[in-house]
């Protein structure tokens, strides 16, 4: 069997329906018995899996033996299971398909934990396969034994310990179904070694498993939809607030259609970037702690707020008792527990944004909001995103803007966590969905580079730029070996300010400039040499001219990773900023304002 591979480009991404795995049935095999490892691989192929990130070890040796010479799926040997989990996560965010990672028992499993928690917080469908010691010794503190089902229980949507090889196919299909349906999330399947060796049945079951206790609500309650439409039609100052749910639910076209037809301003969360093109006049960019001034003010002043697949995270709302106090709120979410959790809403709609948004759009008429638009345009003119004046130094904001220009806003941008992440979110112009990959909820440093590898392997025809920092990159720099081995053309734009920028910024503003353990200074490695020792291209840029040259050179390399050590202004701070504990409208735009 050949694995099917769809090439993803910025243009065709919306035409794919990646949450539905490819159907393939091998019913002719029904009577035969297979080893657990064979059943595992057959089932993965059934489910449309074409890529696994993994690392071998004692408990999963039977799987690796079955993988030997197998051409049905691609296995990538990462250098650390945490990076493998992030890579599977990046693969999933770029395509919408579930990411798959394979690790051995004990430390293999525990190394995946940060990656699983990252996926859980951002609702990313992952299936994590871990080896386990044989069932006969489970609980005996056997070599490389860890209760990974227990450890990952709070950070998975569901998890399983397989105790009967005849049940393996069903468990795997259930795992994929749960990971990809409703609010997506990671699912872990723990595979004891004896289950992999024992022979059992493979039935070629339907991929669409029926689980009576798991039936997510897809279509919203009609009277609520009608009420939402009526509220939007009569609004004086409406605002659409779009979250990651619009990307996960593939509702970017529906959201864009509604916002354009009703001509209502749109702000996206960090996770929602790309769900509404920032080139459109309705776009106010990102809101929240480092959102645009006008998006945060629009949120504060609006009279009708419609939240589309967003969860009113604390980084978005700021101080809750100062958050959008005058608005009537509509909240669409597929997960009922997200509704009314942080903010009370008048019209809760539990359902799939893909169905609910067009239903509202159909019933609503464009509100008369010329005055509201005039106010917003005035805000935009008076409080644009601040960019320092150009000189012979590289300012982080300019660096992101240059990457945006060089890639025409068409690249997949993957980041780590911190200042560079916020600057990338602010200054890269996102016009396509699934083009922004970042650890939003958990804020996992070390996420960027491995996730970028996953995205690049998923979308070989797209440019993948990993905007990272000197802190975050060093948490997973060892993956350069993997990127070189498999010729993964990730362009690493390392924003090097020789410190943990966001920590340093907070220490400057809130801890009286006591820079406690946040400055690397000259203790950072020579990143160009580091790149070269792994066998990949290393470039350095110390001024805007060198940066342009480095970027042009990097973009031309299509068969190898490139690491650009970009020396930026070290003491630059990220603004606007809503200080911790402040309301959105109390945001500051400069060091001077912050000092007050």
């Amino acid at each position: 069997m050949k694995s099917t591979k769809t090439i993803t480009t910025a243009e065709n991404i919306s035409k794919q329906s990646p949450l539905q795995p490819v159907f393939r049935h091998n019913v002719e095999d029904a009577a035969q018995l297979y080893s657990g490892s064979e059943i595992l691989l057959k089932t993965l192929v059934d489910l449309g899996v074409d890529t696994i990130f993994g690392y071998p070890g004692g408990a999963v040796l039977p799987i690796y033996d079955t993988l030997f010479g197998n051409t049905d799926l691609r296995h990538f040997l990462i250098r650390h299971e945490q990076a493998g989990t992030h890579a599977a996560d990046g693969y999933s965010r770029a395509t919408g398909k579930p990411g798959v990672v394979l690790a051995t028992s004990g430390p293999g499993g525990t190394n995946t934990v940060t990656g699983i928690a990252t996926a859980m917080m951002d609702s990313i469908p992952l299936v994590v396969l871990t080896g386990q010691v044989p069932t006969s010794v489970i609980g005996n503190d056997a070599f490389q034994e860890a209760d990974i089902v227990g450890i990952t229980r709070p950070i998975t949507k569901q998890n399983y310990l397989v105790r009967d090889v005849n049940n393996l196919e069903h468990v795997l299909k259930e795992a994929f179904h749960i990971a990809t349906h409703g609010r997506p999330g990671p699912v872990l399947v723990d595979l004891p070694k004896d289950m992999l060796n024992t022979k059992g049945k493979y039935a070629g079951l339907d991929n669409n498993v029926d689980i009576p206790s798991f039936k997510p609500t897809l279509y919203g309650h009609h009277p609520q939809i009608a009420k939402a439409a009526e509220m939007l039609s009569n609004a004086k100052k409406p605002l659409i607030y779009v979250g990651g749910g619009a990307i996960l639910g593939q509702a970017w076209e529906e959201v864009t259609a509604m916002a354009e037809r009703l001509n209502i301003p749109v702000t996206t969360t960090l996770m929602g970037l790309g769900a509404f093109p920032e080139s459109k006049p309705q776009s106010l960019g990102m809101l929240g702690m480092h959102g645009t001034w006008f998006a945060n003010m629009a949120m504060t002043e609006c009279d009708v707020l419609i939240a589309v697949g967003a969860r009113f995270d604390d980084r978005v709302t700021g101080r809750l008792n100062g958050f959008s106090l005058n608005s009537r709120k509509i909240h669409i979410d597929i997960d009922p527990s997200c509704i009314g959790k942080n903010v009370d809403v008048e019209v809760p709609i539990v359902g799939d944004v893909k169905h609910v948004v067009p239903a509202i759009d159909k019933l609503a008429s464009p509100p008369k909001i010329d005055k509201w638009w005039a106010t917003i345009r005035k805000w935009q003119k008076e409080h644009p995103l601040v960019v320092p004046k150009a000189d012979d130094k590289i300012y982080p904001q300019h660096m992101v803007k240059m990457i945006s220009e060089v890639t025409n806003g068409n690249a997949i941008v993957v980041t780590d966590v911190g200042q560079h992440q916020m600057w990338a979110a602010q200054h890269y112009q996102f016009n396509h969905p699934r083009s922004w990959i970042s650890s939003g909820g958990l804020g996992t440093m070390g996420y960027g580079f491995p996730a970028a590898m996953g995205a690049a392997l998923a979308c070989p025809d797209r440019d993948v730029v990993c905007i990272t920092g000197d802190g975050g990159f060093q948490m997973s720099s060892y993956e350069l070996a993997t990127a070189v081995e498999y010729k993964i053309p990730v362009k690493i734009a390392l924003m090097n300010n020789n410190c943990l920028g966001m920590v340093r910024q907070w220490q400057q503003l809130f801890f009286n400039k006591r820079y406690s353990y946040s400055v690397f200074g000259s203790n950072n490695p020579d990143f160009v040499k580091m790149a070269e020792c792994y066998g990949c291209v290393g470039l350095r840029a110390e001024n805007p001219k060198e940066l342009k040259e480095a970027l042009d050179k990097a973009m031309a390399i299509k068969d190898a990773p490139v690491l650009m050590d970009i020396r930026v202004v070290e003491e630059e701070n990220c603004y606007p900023m809503v200080p911790s504990g402040a309301a959105l409208y109390e945001m500051v735009e400069s060091d001077e304002e912050a000092a007050k």
């Binding site: 997960d335 527990s337 009314g340």
Partner: protein, 174 residues
């Protein structure tokens, strides 16, 4: 002297139908610890239907909190049904076994109290009595309060088990 007045949040009884496995039980308990919800008592045992279990959970919180608990319970894949019995007519029972010392007052007085609560004597030794009492939680609480001065040696309570009454009409037959 300062005294803290602890205002207890209203009690809620949830009847939860789940798949009978330990992972589900752990996940449900995990919600209460990780999300910081209160948990007064919990029972877990097989249902009539094979492979299913019924849990009775008593918790405390305002309406908003209980609504969140309800939603989080439904998010557990193996949860089939959650019924909040608080505003429904329900039948609720708890069983307790209480060992009381007879040193202070002698057997007859304690047995008289047991009789008043329709409790049974299930074990007698020279200086102790073991009583079995069944009823709703308030009744069990009340009996324990009465017995405390005599010296409760040990005690084991099951926590509430509850079901919805079939008849939900206006007439209160409780």
């Amino acid at each position: 002297m300062s005294s803290t007045v602890i205002i207890k949040q209203p009690k809620h009884t949830l009847s939860v139908l789940v798949k009978h496995n330990l992972n589900t039980l752990s996940r449900i308990i995990g919600i209460f610890s990780s999300k910081g919800f209160e948990l007064d008592s919990v029972t877990f045992a097989s249902e009539a239907e094979p492979g299913m279990a019924r849990m009775t959970i008593t918790t405390r919180g305002d309406e908003k909190t209980v609504e969140q608990i309800n939603k989080h319970l439904y998010n557990v894949v193996d949860v089939l049904k959650v019924i909040n019995l608080t505003h429904k007519k329900s039948i609720e029972r708890e069983l307790a076994i209480i060992k009381v010392s007879t040193a202070k007052a002698g057997r007859p007085e304690i047995m008289l109290i047991a009789q008043a609560f329709k409790a049974k004597v299930i074990d007698i030794t020279s200086d102790k009595l073991a009583l079995e009492v069944t009823g709703n939680t308030d009744k069990v609480d009340a009996m324990i309060e009465v017995l405390k001065p005599y010296g409760i040696v040990a005690m084991s309570r099951t926590g509430s088990v509850a079901l919805k009454r079939e008849f939900q009409g206006a007439v209160n037959i409780n």
